[in-house]
Subunit: 219 residues, 2 copies
């Protein structure tokens, strides 16, 4: 992890919102599970939602959902930009101009490289499931060699990553604070509801505790 930001990860606008320390970047990535990954295909930008998991100093990407593009990745990798955004609130200002969003985001530039080694890929797939839903790894039927063979997993190092965070009340123009207009923040939270059993469930199995009380780590 580079603490001194490279030129392209340095936050150019409102540089006080830029945070580069590893702990901040990791905590945002660990709370999130969905990334938007950008690649270039014949000069055209393509942005795809993809589930991911952090594995130390890199993130693991399940290739299939983004197949048409990521599957073109050669063994030496494909150049990507991976962006993760956690929304924390709407910022309600006294002027339309200062309305904003409280959020925590991470942008990662780099080469996403397919994991060629099958046992490494096996571990990576296990880690993605376990990161998405901790406790699932030991519940599910074991993966098969065929499944591992047919699945692409890419690893993207976090060498060139930056975070951007906005928190707190609006930043209105000085003269607007005297106006009789309400201002503040509408907090936004993602909530995980009571698990809905598959109608095809053939056994009378209670919902496992790790699913009943599902939560993400909150940064």
């Amino acid at each position: 992890m580079t603490n001194a930001p490279s030129q392209r990860t340095q936050v150019k606008r409102l540089p006080d919102r830029g945070k580069y320390d590893e702990a901040t970047i990791h905590s945002i990535l660990d709370e999130a599970y969905l990334a938007h990954i950008g690649i270039v295909e014949d000069g055209q930008p393509i942005v795809i939602p993809v589930l991911f998991a952090r594995d130390g100093d890199s993130v693991l990407l399940h290739g299939s959902p983004a197949s048409r593009t990521l599957r073109n990745a050669k063994n030496d990798g494909i150049r990507v930009c991976l962006t993760v955004t956690l929304v924390d609130g709407f910022v309600i200002a006294r002027s339309g101009f200062h309305h904003s969003m409280n959020y925590r985001s991470v942008v990662v530039f780099g080469e996403a490289v397919p994991i060629v080694d099958e046992s490494e890929r096996w571990n990576a797939l296990d880690l993605i499931v376990e990161s998405l839903v901790p406790g699932q790894g030991e519940m599910v039927r074991p993966m098969t060699a065929k499944e591992v063979k047919g699945t692409m997993v890419l690893r993207l190092p976090l060498d060139e990553a930056s975070a951007k965070i906005r928190t707190g009340p609006p930043g209105d123009d000085a003269e607007d604070y005297a106006l009789p207009i309400w201002a503040g923040v509408i907090p936004i939270t993602e909530v995980y509801g009571a698990p809905i059993p598959d109608p095809a469930l053939e056994h009378d199995i209670p919902v496992p505790a790790h699913l009943e009380n599902y939560e993400r780590p909150r940064g």
Copy 2:
């Protein structure tokens, strides 16, 4: 709106998940407020979170949050991919392999063109605020000419847009349904909490009703 998908908007993987009708695309865009916009800069993909609003057959993008890239947009526009993802649940399967996500997403390809006309830009900024928080338009102090002059708004037509949707229980392998493993969906919802007043609020103003009961249109 093209109902027949162009080659690059056609959903290649799991084509049954592809939905192209205008009503579906509009309802996803109207429920969402955050997009991830991808552009190409010197061959490098860059993906930035941005607030947006639908305006008929196009979307409006506030340029500032994405300034370093979108501000480079010439009057003839900048080639972008705008992706919007609403997450509805984690799909818990009997095998790790079939774990998935229920979601509704829209991908738009096109040229985002800066709105040059100032009165049109004025209306666009009003529309973005009102779309983000309906009712705010008439609460805030009016925009100033200086604010409008200093703000970039881009319009991206929805001519080349596609939606992708996954709903329902896991699709497990036929032989796995007999296993005594719980399967189903953990629903995910975004919740808007009680508004938090700005500590700098100088008047004893109650929270306006449109903020107290904030909701997004649900598709």
